[in-house]
Protein backbone atom coordinates (compact mmCIF):
# COMPACT_ATOMS: atom_id res chain seq x y z
CA UNK A 1 0.00 0.00 0.00
CA UNK A 2 2.61 2.54 1.06
CA UNK A 3 4.91 1.51 -1.80
CA UNK A 4 1.99 1.97 -4.19
CA UNK A 5 1.30 5.36 -2.67
CA UNK A 6 4.91 6.51 -2.95
CA UNK A 7 4.96 5.31 -6.55
CA UNK A 8 1.78 7.28 -7.25
CA UNK A 9 3.24 10.44 -5.73
CA UNK A 10 6.48 10.07 -7.68
CA UNK A 11 4.54 9.54 -10.93
CA UNK A 12 2.37 12.60 -10.34
CA UNK A 13 5.38 14.69 -9.43
CA UNK A 14 7.28 13.53 -12.52
CA UNK A 15 4.27 14.38 -14.70
CA UNK A 16 3.96 17.79 -13.03
CA UNK A 17 7.58 18.62 -13.82
CA UNK A 18 7.50 17.25 -17.37
CA UNK A 19 4.06 18.54 -18.40
CA UNK A 20 4.98 22.06 -19.63
CA UNK A 21 7.82 20.63 -21.76
CA UNK A 22 5.83 17.68 -23.13
CA UNK A 23 2.78 19.84 -23.94
CA UNK A 24 4.35 23.25 -24.67
CA UNK A 25 1.17 24.48 -26.41
CA UNK A 26 -0.90 23.98 -23.27
CA UNK A 27 1.31 25.93 -20.86
CA UNK A 28 -1.40 28.42 -19.93
CA UNK A 29 -4.13 25.75 -19.54
CA UNK A 30 -1.86 23.63 -17.33
CA UNK A 31 -1.13 26.64 -15.14
CA UNK A 32 -4.87 27.35 -14.92
CA UNK A 33 -5.46 23.70 -13.99
CA UNK A 34 -3.13 24.13 -11.01
CA UNK A 35 -4.93 27.34 -10.11
CA UNK A 36 -8.26 25.47 -10.09
CA UNK A 37 -6.77 22.67 -7.99
CA UNK A 38 -5.43 25.15 -5.44
CA UNK A 39 -8.59 27.23 -5.09
CA UNK A 40 -10.67 24.02 -4.86
CA UNK A 41 -8.42 22.58 -2.13
CA UNK A 42 -8.46 25.82 -0.16
CA UNK A 43 -12.24 26.12 -0.54
CA UNK A 44 -12.60 22.60 0.80
CA UNK A 45 -10.65 23.53 3.96
CA UNK A 46 -13.62 25.55 5.20
CA UNK A 47 -16.43 24.20 2.98
CA UNK A 48 -15.67 20.50 3.15
CA UNK A 49 -13.62 19.95 6.29
CA UNK A 50 -15.17 22.59 8.54
CA UNK A 51 -18.71 22.85 7.16
CA UNK A 52 -18.60 26.58 6.39
CA UNK A 53 -19.57 27.12 2.75
CA UNK A 54 -18.00 30.38 1.74
CA UNK A 55 -18.98 32.05 -1.52
CA UNK A 56 -16.53 34.84 -0.80
CA UNK A 57 -13.14 33.12 -1.14
CA UNK A 58 -12.78 34.91 -4.46
CA UNK A 59 -12.30 38.02 -2.29
CA UNK A 60 -8.86 36.68 -1.31
CA UNK A 61 -8.04 35.90 -4.93
CA UNK A 62 -8.83 39.44 -6.09
CA UNK A 63 -7.22 41.05 -3.06
CA UNK A 64 -4.14 38.86 -3.60
CA UNK A 65 -3.88 40.15 -7.17
CA UNK A 66 -4.02 43.77 -6.11
CA UNK A 67 -1.70 43.39 -3.14
CA UNK A 68 0.91 41.61 -5.29
CA UNK A 69 0.62 44.30 -7.97
CA UNK A 70 0.88 47.16 -5.49
CA UNK A 71 3.93 45.59 -3.81
CA UNK A 72 5.71 44.80 -7.11
CA UNK A 73 5.14 48.32 -8.43
CA UNK A 74 5.50 50.10 -5.11
CA UNK A 75 8.99 48.68 -4.56
CA UNK A 76 10.19 50.65 -7.58
CA UNK A 77 7.77 53.48 -8.34
CA UNK A 78 5.04 55.54 -6.77
CA UNK A 79 1.86 53.49 -7.23
CA UNK A 80 -0.46 56.48 -7.72
CA UNK A 81 1.70 58.01 -10.44
CA UNK A 82 2.20 54.63 -12.11
CA UNK A 83 -1.51 53.84 -12.34
CA UNK A 84 -2.21 57.46 -13.32
CA UNK A 85 -0.08 56.95 -16.40
CA UNK A 86 -2.07 53.71 -17.10
CA UNK A 87 0.98 51.66 -17.99
CA UNK A 88 2.26 54.35 -20.26
CA UNK A 89 5.63 52.84 -21.08
CA UNK A 90 7.96 55.15 -19.20
CA UNK A 91 8.16 52.68 -16.38
CA UNK A 92 10.80 49.99 -16.78
CA UNK A 93 11.67 47.14 -14.45
CA UNK A 94 15.02 45.39 -14.32
CA UNK A 95 15.17 41.56 -14.06
CA UNK A 96 16.05 41.79 -10.39
CA UNK A 97 13.18 44.20 -9.75
CA UNK A 98 10.75 41.85 -11.53
CA UNK A 99 11.72 38.78 -9.53
CA UNK A 100 11.92 40.57 -6.17
CA UNK A 101 8.52 42.07 -6.92
CA UNK A 102 7.18 38.64 -7.86
CA UNK A 103 8.40 36.88 -4.73
CA UNK A 104 7.63 39.65 -2.23
CA UNK A 105 4.37 40.45 -4.02
CA UNK A 106 2.95 36.92 -3.95
CA UNK A 107 4.09 36.22 -0.38
CA UNK A 108 2.89 39.62 0.75
CA UNK A 109 -0.47 38.90 -0.90
CA UNK A 110 -0.70 35.64 1.07
CA UNK A 111 0.11 37.30 4.38
CA UNK A 112 -2.20 40.24 3.75
CA UNK A 113 -5.11 37.92 2.85
CA UNK A 114 -4.50 35.76 5.92
CA UNK A 115 -4.74 38.86 8.14
CA UNK A 116 -7.89 40.04 6.31
CA UNK A 117 -9.43 36.59 6.81
CA UNK A 118 -9.01 37.02 10.58
CA UNK A 119 -10.79 40.36 10.49
CA UNK A 120 -13.63 39.36 8.13
CA UNK A 121 -13.94 35.98 9.83
CA UNK A 122 -14.38 37.61 13.20
CA UNK A 123 -17.53 39.27 11.86
CA UNK A 124 -18.90 36.60 9.48
CA UNK A 125 -18.25 33.45 11.53
CA UNK A 126 -21.15 34.43 13.75
CA UNK A 127 -23.30 33.43 10.75
CA UNK A 128 -24.19 29.80 10.02
CA UNK A 129 -25.22 27.83 6.95
CA UNK A 130 -26.60 29.83 4.00
CA UNK A 131 -26.22 33.10 5.92
CA UNK A 132 -22.47 32.62 6.04
CA UNK A 133 -22.41 31.88 2.30
CA UNK A 134 -24.37 35.02 1.45
CA UNK A 135 -22.48 37.14 3.97
CA UNK A 136 -19.10 36.22 2.49
CA UNK A 137 -20.42 36.68 -1.05
CA UNK A 138 -21.47 40.17 -0.03
CA UNK A 139 -17.93 40.92 1.14
CA UNK A 140 -16.48 39.85 -2.23
CA UNK A 141 -18.99 41.86 -4.27
CA UNK A 142 -18.55 44.95 -2.11
CA UNK A 143 -14.76 44.70 -2.35
CA UNK A 144 -14.93 44.52 -6.16
CA UNK A 145 -17.05 47.66 -6.28
CA UNK A 146 -14.85 49.53 -3.83
CA UNK A 147 -11.65 48.70 -5.70
CA UNK A 148 -13.15 49.68 -9.05
CA UNK A 149 -13.75 53.14 -7.60
CA UNK A 150 -10.31 53.47 -6.06
CA UNK A 151 -8.16 55.50 -8.45
CA UNK A 152 -4.89 54.89 -6.62
CA UNK A 153 -4.97 51.26 -7.81
CA UNK A 154 -6.29 52.15 -11.25
CA UNK A 155 -10.05 52.17 -10.58
CA UNK A 156 -12.29 50.40 -13.09
CA UNK A 157 -9.54 50.38 -15.69
CA UNK A 158 -7.44 48.07 -13.58
CA UNK A 159 -3.70 47.87 -13.29
CA UNK A 160 -0.81 46.74 -15.48
CA UNK A 161 2.16 44.79 -14.21
CA UNK A 162 5.69 44.46 -15.57
CA UNK A 163 6.14 41.78 -18.23
CA UNK A 164 8.33 38.71 -17.68
CA UNK A 165 11.88 39.75 -18.62
CA UNK A 166 12.71 36.67 -20.77
CA UNK A 167 10.89 35.41 -23.84
CA UNK A 168 7.19 34.70 -23.80
CA UNK A 169 7.32 30.87 -23.66
CA UNK A 170 9.83 30.94 -20.84
CA UNK A 171 7.47 33.25 -18.97
CA UNK A 172 4.62 30.76 -19.32
CA UNK A 173 6.78 27.96 -17.89
CA UNK A 174 7.83 30.24 -15.03
CA UNK A 175 4.21 31.00 -14.13
CA UNK A 176 3.28 27.31 -14.50
CA UNK A 177 5.93 26.30 -11.97
CA UNK A 178 4.94 29.08 -9.60
CA UNK A 179 1.42 27.60 -9.54
CA UNK A 180 2.65 23.99 -9.44
CA UNK A 181 5.05 24.55 -6.53
CA UNK A 182 2.34 26.34 -4.54
CA UNK A 183 -0.03 23.45 -5.29
CA UNK A 184 2.43 20.77 -4.21
CA UNK A 185 3.26 22.67 -1.01
CA UNK A 186 -0.45 23.09 -0.29
CA UNK A 187 -1.04 19.36 -0.79
CA UNK A 188 1.80 18.43 1.58
CA UNK A 189 0.52 20.96 4.09
CA UNK A 190 -3.09 19.69 4.02
CA UNK A 191 -2.04 16.03 4.00
CA UNK A 192 -0.33 16.78 7.32
CA UNK A 193 -2.90 19.20 8.76
CA UNK A 194 -5.90 16.88 8.32
CA UNK A 195 -4.15 14.22 10.39
CA UNK A 196 -3.52 16.48 13.38
CA UNK A 197 -5.77 17.24 16.33
CA UNK A 198 -6.47 20.54 14.61
CA UNK A 199 -7.90 18.65 11.62
CA UNK A 200 -10.09 16.58 13.93
CA UNK A 201 -11.32 19.72 15.67
CA UNK A 202 -12.48 21.39 12.45
CA UNK A 203 -14.24 18.13 11.47
CA UNK A 204 -15.99 18.28 14.84
CA UNK A 205 -17.14 21.83 14.07
CA UNK A 206 -18.56 20.58 10.76
CA UNK A 207 -20.38 17.61 12.28
CA UNK A 208 -21.85 19.33 15.35
CA UNK A 209 -20.60 22.75 16.28
CA UNK A 210 -22.79 23.03 19.35
CA UNK A 211 -21.40 19.78 20.70
CA UNK A 212 -17.87 20.94 19.94
CA UNK A 213 -18.52 24.14 21.90
CA UNK A 214 -19.99 22.19 24.79
CA UNK A 215 -16.82 20.05 24.85
CA UNK A 216 -14.71 23.18 25.28
CA UNK A 217 -13.19 23.22 21.78
CA UNK A 218 -12.03 26.73 20.87
CA UNK A 219 -14.39 26.86 17.87
CA UNK A 220 -13.84 30.52 16.96
CA UNK A 221 -10.07 30.15 17.13
CA UNK A 222 -10.07 27.11 14.83
CA UNK A 223 -12.48 28.70 12.38
CA UNK A 224 -10.38 31.85 12.10
CA UNK A 225 -7.06 30.01 11.76
CA UNK A 226 -8.45 27.63 9.13
CA UNK A 227 -9.85 30.45 7.04
CA UNK A 228 -6.61 32.41 7.41
CA UNK A 229 -4.57 29.41 6.21
CA UNK A 230 -6.94 29.00 3.28
CA UNK A 231 -6.79 32.73 2.48
CA UNK A 232 -2.97 32.66 2.62
CA UNK A 233 -2.80 30.20 -0.27
CA UNK A 234 -5.61 31.87 -2.25
CA UNK A 235 -3.81 35.19 -1.85
CA UNK A 236 -0.60 33.69 -3.20
CA UNK A 237 -2.25 32.21 -6.30
CA UNK A 238 -4.11 35.49 -6.78
CA UNK A 239 -0.70 37.17 -6.82
CA UNK A 240 0.67 34.66 -9.34
CA UNK A 241 -2.43 35.17 -11.52
CA UNK A 242 -1.75 38.91 -11.50
CA UNK A 243 1.70 38.31 -12.98
CA UNK A 244 0.20 35.80 -15.45
CA UNK A 245 -2.48 38.18 -16.72
CA UNK A 246 -0.11 41.22 -16.62
CA UNK A 247 -3.05 43.55 -17.09
CA UNK A 248 -6.23 43.02 -15.13
CA UNK A 249 -9.28 44.92 -13.95
CA UNK A 250 -11.34 44.59 -10.78
CA UNK A 251 -14.75 43.09 -11.65
CA UNK A 252 -14.14 40.58 -14.45
CA UNK A 253 -10.67 39.29 -13.56
CA UNK A 254 -9.94 40.04 -9.91
CA UNK A 255 -13.20 39.81 -7.94
CA UNK A 256 -14.83 37.48 -10.50
CA UNK A 257 -17.55 36.18 -8.18
CA UNK A 258 -19.61 34.42 -10.87
CA UNK A 259 -16.68 32.74 -12.61
CA UNK A 260 -13.82 31.46 -10.48
CA UNK A 261 -15.79 32.23 -7.31
CA UNK A 262 -18.40 29.63 -8.30
CA UNK A 263 -16.05 27.32 -10.22
CA UNK A 264 -14.06 26.51 -7.10
CA UNK A 265 -17.23 25.35 -5.34
CA UNK A 266 -18.30 23.24 -8.33
CA UNK A 267 -14.86 21.59 -8.49
CA UNK A 268 -15.15 20.50 -4.87
CA UNK A 269 -18.73 19.26 -5.29
CA UNK A 270 -17.74 17.27 -8.39
CA UNK A 271 -14.79 15.62 -6.69
CA UNK A 272 -16.24 15.18 -3.23
CA UNK A 273 -16.39 17.50 -0.22
CA UNK A 274 -14.28 16.89 2.85
CA UNK A 275 -11.69 14.61 1.26
CA UNK A 276 -8.06 15.28 0.44
CA UNK A 277 -8.23 14.08 -3.17
CA UNK A 278 -11.79 15.11 -3.99
CA UNK A 279 -11.05 18.76 -4.79
CA UNK A 280 -8.04 17.78 -6.92
CA UNK A 281 -9.95 15.20 -8.97
CA UNK A 282 -12.94 17.55 -9.20
CA UNK A 283 -10.77 20.41 -10.43
CA UNK A 284 -9.27 18.21 -13.16
CA UNK A 285 -12.73 16.95 -14.22
CA UNK A 286 -14.08 20.48 -14.24
CA UNK A 287 -11.16 21.97 -16.14
CA UNK A 288 -11.31 19.25 -18.82
CA UNK A 289 -15.07 19.73 -19.18
CA UNK A 290 -14.65 23.48 -19.41
CA UNK A 291 -11.88 23.37 -22.02
CA UNK A 292 -13.73 20.80 -24.14
CA UNK A 293 -16.98 22.77 -24.17
CA UNK A 294 -15.13 26.05 -24.82
CA UNK A 295 -13.36 24.50 -27.80
CA UNK A 296 -16.07 22.35 -29.37
CA UNK A 297 -19.39 23.86 -28.29
CA UNK A 298 -18.55 27.53 -28.49
CA UNK A 299 -21.67 29.57 -27.92
CA UNK A 300 -23.16 26.82 -25.76
CA UNK A 301 -20.33 26.62 -23.23
CA UNK A 302 -22.16 28.55 -20.50
CA UNK A 303 -25.28 26.45 -21.00
CA UNK A 304 -23.23 23.25 -20.70
CA UNK A 305 -21.52 24.60 -17.59
CA UNK A 306 -24.84 25.60 -16.05
CA UNK A 307 -26.21 22.13 -16.76
CA UNK A 308 -23.16 20.55 -15.17
CA UNK A 309 -23.67 22.62 -12.02
CA UNK A 310 -27.38 21.77 -11.80
CA UNK A 311 -26.79 18.04 -12.34
CA UNK A 312 -23.98 17.99 -9.75
CA UNK A 313 -25.97 19.84 -7.13
CA UNK A 314 -29.16 17.84 -7.64
CA UNK A 315 -27.93 14.29 -8.30
CA UNK A 316 -24.29 14.08 -7.32
CA UNK A 317 -23.90 16.11 -4.12
CA UNK A 318 -21.30 13.88 -2.54
CA UNK A 319 -19.12 13.95 -5.63
CA UNK A 320 -16.93 11.22 -7.00
CA UNK A 321 -15.10 10.53 -3.74
CA UNK A 322 -18.35 10.57 -1.76
CA UNK A 323 -19.86 8.08 -4.20
CA UNK A 324 -16.80 5.82 -3.95
CA UNK A 325 -16.92 6.04 -0.17
CA UNK A 326 -20.42 4.58 -0.20
CA UNK A 327 -19.83 1.94 -2.87
CA UNK A 328 -16.28 0.93 -1.90
CA UNK A 329 -15.92 1.69 1.83
CA UNK A 330 -13.04 -0.78 2.15
CA UNK A 331 -10.88 1.52 -0.02
CA UNK A 332 -11.15 4.10 2.74
CA UNK A 333 -10.59 1.68 5.60
CA UNK A 334 -14.17 2.08 6.81
CA UNK A 335 -15.95 -0.69 8.70
CA UNK A 336 -19.67 -0.86 8.05
CA UNK A 337 -20.38 -4.43 9.00
CA UNK A 338 -24.07 -4.52 9.89
CA UNK A 339 -24.10 -8.25 10.61
CA UNK A 340 -20.99 -8.07 12.78
CA UNK A 341 -22.56 -5.15 14.55
CA UNK A 342 -25.66 -7.16 15.46
CA UNK A 343 -23.60 -10.06 16.71
CA UNK A 344 -21.41 -7.94 18.92
CA UNK A 345 -24.51 -6.16 20.20
CA UNK A 346 -25.89 -9.52 21.32
CA UNK A 347 -22.59 -10.43 22.90
CA UNK A 348 -22.48 -7.10 24.72
CA UNK A 349 -25.99 -7.35 26.11
CA UNK A 350 -25.46 -10.92 27.31
CA UNK A 351 -22.22 -9.73 28.91
CA UNK A 352 -24.16 -6.96 30.65
CA UNK A 353 -26.76 -9.45 31.91
CA UNK A 354 -24.02 -11.66 33.32
CA UNK A 355 -22.84 -8.73 35.42
Amino acid sequence: MSINKTGLYVAILAFTVAAPFVFPNYGVQLGTLWLMIIVAMTWDMTGGQMGYNSLGNIFFYGTGMYVAAVIAIGLVYDVGEYTGAAGGGRYEFTDAQYFTGFILGTLGAGVFCAITAFIIGYVTFGLRGPYFAIGTLGVAIAAGELVSNWDWVGGGQGITLPVYPGNLDEGKVFIYFAFAITGVLLFIFLNWLYKTRFGAAINAIRDDEEKAEAMGIHTMRYKLVTWAMSAFFVGIVGGISAFQLISFEPLESAYQTINLGIFMVVCVLLGGKGTLWGPIIGAIMFQVFKEVTWNYFLGWQWVALGALIVVTVVYFQDGLMGWLRVTKPEWFGLTIDEKGNEQSQKAASSGEAAQ
Binding site: R197, A200, I217, H218, N341, E352, A353
Partner: protein, 246 residues
Amino acid sequence: MSIIDVSNVSKSYGGVKANSDVSITVEKGGITGLIGPNGSGKTTLFNSIVGYHPIDSGSIKYEGQEISHMQVPEIARLGLLRTFQQTRIYGAMDCVENMLISLPHRKMSLWDTLRSNTAEDRERAGHLLEFVGLYEKRHLRSGSLSFGQQKLLEFAMALMNEPTVLLLDEPTAGINPTLINGLIDRLKRANSEFGITLFIIEHNMRVIMNMADTIYCLAHGELLASGSSDDVQNDQRVIDAYLGAH
Protein backbone atom coordinates in the same frame (compact mmCIF):
# COMPACT_ATOMS: atom_id res chain seq x y z
CA MET B 1 -17.28 22.09 50.05
CA SER B 2 -19.57 23.28 47.31
CA ILE B 3 -18.45 23.53 43.69
CA ILE B 4 -21.60 24.90 42.05
CA ASP B 5 -23.72 27.46 43.88
CA VAL B 6 -26.99 28.41 42.28
CA SER B 7 -28.72 31.16 44.25
CA ASN B 8 -32.18 32.58 43.59
CA VAL B 9 -32.08 31.94 39.85
CA SER B 10 -35.15 32.85 37.81
CA LYS B 11 -35.69 32.29 34.10
CA SER B 12 -38.85 32.94 32.10
CA TYR B 13 -39.73 32.22 28.51
CA GLY B 14 -42.29 34.89 27.71
CA GLY B 15 -45.00 34.31 30.28
CA VAL B 16 -43.79 30.85 31.30
CA LYS B 17 -41.74 30.84 34.46
CA ALA B 18 -39.36 27.92 33.83
CA ASN B 19 -37.33 28.57 36.99
CA SER B 20 -38.30 30.89 39.79
CA ASP B 21 -36.02 31.64 42.70
CA VAL B 22 -34.19 28.32 42.57
CA SER B 23 -31.22 27.76 44.88
CA ILE B 24 -29.12 24.62 44.67
CA THR B 25 -25.70 23.58 45.89
CA VAL B 26 -23.59 20.86 44.31
CA GLU B 27 -20.96 19.42 46.65
CA LYS B 28 -17.48 18.84 45.31
CA GLY B 29 -16.70 15.18 44.75
CA GLY B 30 -20.27 14.04 45.39
CA ILE B 31 -23.22 12.91 43.33
CA THR B 32 -26.15 15.30 43.32
CA GLY B 33 -29.50 14.44 41.79
CA LEU B 34 -32.17 16.66 40.27
CA ILE B 35 -35.65 15.25 39.86
CA GLY B 36 -39.07 16.60 39.06
CA PRO B 37 -42.03 15.93 36.78
CA ASN B 38 -41.88 16.75 33.08
CA GLY B 39 -41.80 20.47 32.46
CA SER B 40 -40.65 21.29 35.97
CA GLY B 41 -37.60 23.23 34.73
CA LYS B 42 -34.77 20.74 35.22
CA THR B 43 -33.21 21.08 31.78
CA THR B 44 -33.71 24.85 31.88
CA LEU B 45 -31.66 24.96 35.06
CA PHE B 46 -28.95 22.84 33.42
CA ASN B 47 -28.89 25.12 30.41
CA SER B 48 -28.62 28.16 32.67
CA ILE B 49 -25.64 26.66 34.48
CA VAL B 50 -23.69 25.75 31.32
CA GLY B 51 -24.46 29.08 29.68
CA TYR B 52 -26.97 28.25 26.92
CA HIS B 53 -29.08 31.24 27.81
CA PRO B 54 -28.81 34.22 30.11
CA ILE B 55 -30.72 34.10 33.39
CA ASP B 56 -33.20 36.79 34.39
CA SER B 57 -31.96 37.18 37.96
CA GLY B 58 -29.91 35.42 40.61
CA SER B 59 -26.37 34.15 40.55
CA ILE B 60 -24.52 31.00 39.48
CA LYS B 61 -21.05 30.41 40.88
CA TYR B 62 -18.55 27.75 39.91
CA GLU B 63 -15.70 27.33 42.37
CA GLY B 64 -16.60 30.76 43.72
CA GLN B 65 -16.45 32.43 40.29
CA GLU B 66 -19.59 34.03 38.85
CA ILE B 67 -20.37 32.24 35.56
CA SER B 68 -23.94 33.35 34.81
CA HIS B 69 -22.75 35.88 32.21
CA MET B 70 -20.31 33.53 30.48
CA GLN B 71 -20.70 31.75 27.11
CA VAL B 72 -20.97 27.97 26.60
CA PRO B 73 -17.37 27.34 25.42
CA GLU B 74 -15.89 29.51 28.20
CA ILE B 75 -17.78 27.57 30.86
CA ALA B 76 -16.89 24.23 29.25
CA ARG B 77 -13.24 25.25 29.35
CA LEU B 78 -13.48 25.69 33.13
CA GLY B 79 -14.04 21.94 33.30
CA LEU B 80 -17.82 22.06 33.66
CA LEU B 81 -19.21 19.68 31.06
CA ARG B 82 -22.68 18.48 30.13
CA THR B 83 -24.18 15.65 28.14
CA PHE B 84 -27.39 16.05 26.20
CA GLN B 85 -30.83 14.51 26.70
CA GLN B 86 -30.83 13.69 22.99
CA THR B 87 -27.35 12.28 22.53
CA ARG B 88 -24.90 14.36 20.54
CA ILE B 89 -22.01 12.50 19.02
CA TYR B 90 -20.17 12.95 15.72
CA GLY B 91 -22.19 10.38 13.75
CA ALA B 92 -20.01 10.20 10.63
CA MET B 93 -16.87 9.28 12.60
CA ASP B 94 -16.01 6.02 14.30
CA CYS B 95 -15.92 5.64 18.08
CA VAL B 96 -12.16 6.10 18.43
CA GLU B 97 -12.27 9.33 16.40
CA ASN B 98 -15.13 10.55 18.58
CA MET B 99 -12.99 9.87 21.62
CA LEU B 100 -9.87 11.54 20.24
CA ILE B 101 -11.79 14.71 19.34
CA SER B 102 -12.93 14.84 22.95
CA LEU B 103 -9.40 15.25 24.28
CA PRO B 104 -9.39 18.28 26.57
CA HIS B 105 -8.64 21.10 24.11
CA ARG B 106 -8.86 23.57 26.99
CA LYS B 107 -5.49 22.26 28.16
CA MET B 108 -3.87 22.65 24.72
CA SER B 109 -2.25 25.63 23.07
CA LEU B 110 -2.67 26.11 19.33
CA TRP B 111 0.73 24.49 18.83
CA ASP B 112 -0.29 21.40 20.80
CA THR B 113 -3.22 20.93 18.45
CA LEU B 114 -0.93 20.95 15.43
CA ARG B 115 0.37 17.57 16.52
CA SER B 116 -1.05 14.15 15.82
CA ASN B 117 -2.63 12.15 18.59
CA THR B 118 -0.10 10.21 20.59
CA ALA B 119 -0.11 6.48 21.27
CA GLU B 120 -1.05 7.36 24.87
CA ASP B 121 -4.13 9.27 23.67
CA ARG B 122 -5.24 6.23 21.65
CA GLU B 123 -4.59 3.94 24.56
CA ARG B 124 -6.67 6.11 26.88
CA ALA B 125 -9.45 6.23 24.28
CA GLY B 126 -9.37 2.44 24.05
CA HIS B 127 -9.32 2.10 27.82
CA LEU B 128 -12.35 4.36 28.28
CA LEU B 129 -14.26 2.62 25.48
CA GLU B 130 -13.58 -0.60 27.30
CA PHE B 131 -14.80 1.07 30.51
CA VAL B 132 -18.22 1.71 28.94
CA GLY B 133 -18.26 -1.62 27.08
CA LEU B 134 -17.84 -0.34 23.53
CA TYR B 135 -14.32 -1.60 22.82
CA GLU B 136 -15.47 -4.20 20.25
CA LYS B 137 -17.29 -1.49 18.32
CA ARG B 138 -14.50 1.06 18.39
CA HIS B 139 -14.02 1.10 14.61
CA LEU B 140 -17.70 1.27 13.72
CA ARG B 141 -19.32 4.47 12.53
CA SER B 142 -20.78 5.89 15.71
CA GLY B 143 -23.98 6.90 13.90
CA SER B 144 -24.70 3.21 13.27
CA LEU B 145 -24.71 2.41 17.00
CA SER B 146 -27.98 1.96 18.89
CA PHE B 147 -29.30 4.88 20.94
CA GLY B 148 -28.18 3.32 24.21
CA GLN B 149 -24.71 2.67 22.88
CA GLN B 150 -24.51 6.24 21.64
CA LYS B 151 -25.33 7.43 25.17
CA LEU B 152 -22.51 5.27 26.52
CA LEU B 153 -20.19 6.70 23.88
CA GLU B 154 -21.18 10.23 24.83
CA PHE B 155 -20.46 9.40 28.45
CA ALA B 156 -17.05 7.98 27.52
CA MET B 157 -16.34 11.12 25.46
CA ALA B 158 -17.17 13.26 28.50
CA LEU B 159 -14.73 11.23 30.61
CA MET B 160 -12.05 11.63 27.91
CA ASN B 161 -12.41 15.38 28.36
CA GLU B 162 -11.28 15.08 32.01
CA PRO B 163 -14.02 17.30 33.43
CA THR B 164 -14.16 18.49 37.01
CA VAL B 165 -17.95 18.46 37.05
CA LEU B 166 -20.18 16.46 34.74
CA LEU B 167 -23.82 17.43 34.26
CA LEU B 168 -25.78 14.49 32.92
CA ASP B 169 -29.24 15.03 31.45
CA GLU B 170 -31.18 11.78 31.86
CA PRO B 171 -28.29 9.36 31.34
CA THR B 172 -30.50 6.27 31.49
CA ALA B 173 -33.42 7.45 29.32
CA GLY B 174 -33.86 5.15 26.34
CA ILE B 175 -31.37 2.61 27.60
CA ASN B 176 -32.54 -0.96 28.01
CA PRO B 177 -32.87 -2.18 31.61
CA THR B 178 -29.98 -4.64 31.44
CA LEU B 179 -27.62 -1.87 30.38
CA ILE B 180 -28.86 0.49 33.10
CA ASN B 181 -27.22 -1.46 35.94
CA GLY B 182 -23.93 -1.36 34.09
CA LEU B 183 -24.31 2.38 33.56
CA ILE B 184 -25.08 3.08 37.24
CA ASP B 185 -21.97 1.13 38.15
CA ARG B 186 -19.86 3.11 35.69
CA LEU B 187 -21.23 6.47 36.81
CA LYS B 188 -20.39 5.58 40.42
CA ARG B 189 -16.92 4.49 39.39
CA ALA B 190 -16.37 7.68 37.39
CA ASN B 191 -17.19 9.51 40.60
CA SER B 192 -15.06 7.41 42.94
CA GLU B 193 -12.13 6.46 40.66
CA PHE B 194 -11.76 9.60 38.54
CA GLY B 195 -13.02 11.99 41.22
CA ILE B 196 -15.55 13.63 38.91
CA THR B 197 -18.36 15.52 40.60
CA LEU B 198 -21.69 14.42 39.12
CA PHE B 199 -24.89 16.40 38.84
CA ILE B 200 -27.62 14.24 37.34
CA ILE B 201 -31.13 14.83 36.03
CA GLU B 202 -32.97 11.56 36.19
CA HIS B 203 -36.53 10.31 35.91
CA ASN B 204 -35.75 6.76 36.96
CA MET B 205 -36.24 6.90 40.74
CA ARG B 206 -34.51 3.58 41.36
CA VAL B 207 -31.40 4.89 39.60
CA ILE B 208 -31.20 8.28 41.30
CA MET B 209 -32.08 7.02 44.79
CA ASN B 210 -29.36 4.43 44.39
CA MET B 211 -26.66 6.92 43.48
CA ALA B 212 -27.16 10.44 44.75
CA ASP B 213 -25.97 11.79 48.10
CA THR B 214 -28.28 14.76 47.86
CA ILE B 215 -31.42 15.15 45.77
CA TYR B 216 -33.28 18.29 44.75
CA CYS B 217 -36.83 18.13 43.49
CA LEU B 218 -38.30 20.79 41.22
CA ALA B 219 -41.98 21.29 40.43
CA HIS B 220 -43.50 24.10 38.35
CA GLY B 221 -40.10 25.77 38.21
CA GLU B 222 -39.77 26.03 41.98
CA LEU B 223 -37.63 24.08 44.39
CA LEU B 224 -40.01 21.72 46.14
CA ALA B 225 -37.79 19.66 48.40
CA SER B 226 -34.20 18.70 49.00
CA GLY B 227 -32.21 16.35 51.16
CA SER B 228 -31.00 12.76 51.25
CA SER B 229 -32.75 10.16 49.11
CA ASP B 230 -34.79 8.94 52.10
CA ASP B 231 -35.94 12.44 53.01
CA VAL B 232 -37.02 13.19 49.46
CA GLN B 233 -38.64 9.79 48.92
CA ASN B 234 -40.82 10.21 51.98
CA ASP B 235 -41.70 13.85 51.37
CA GLN B 236 -45.45 14.06 50.79
CA ARG B 237 -45.05 17.10 48.50
CA VAL B 238 -42.72 15.15 46.20
CA ILE B 239 -45.11 12.24 46.03
CA ASP B 240 -47.98 14.62 45.25
CA ALA B 241 -45.99 16.37 42.52
CA TYR B 242 -45.24 13.09 40.80
CA LEU B 243 -48.75 11.73 41.17
CA GLY B 244 -50.30 14.98 40.00
CA ALA B 245 -51.87 16.34 43.23
CA HIS B 246 -51.57 20.09 43.78
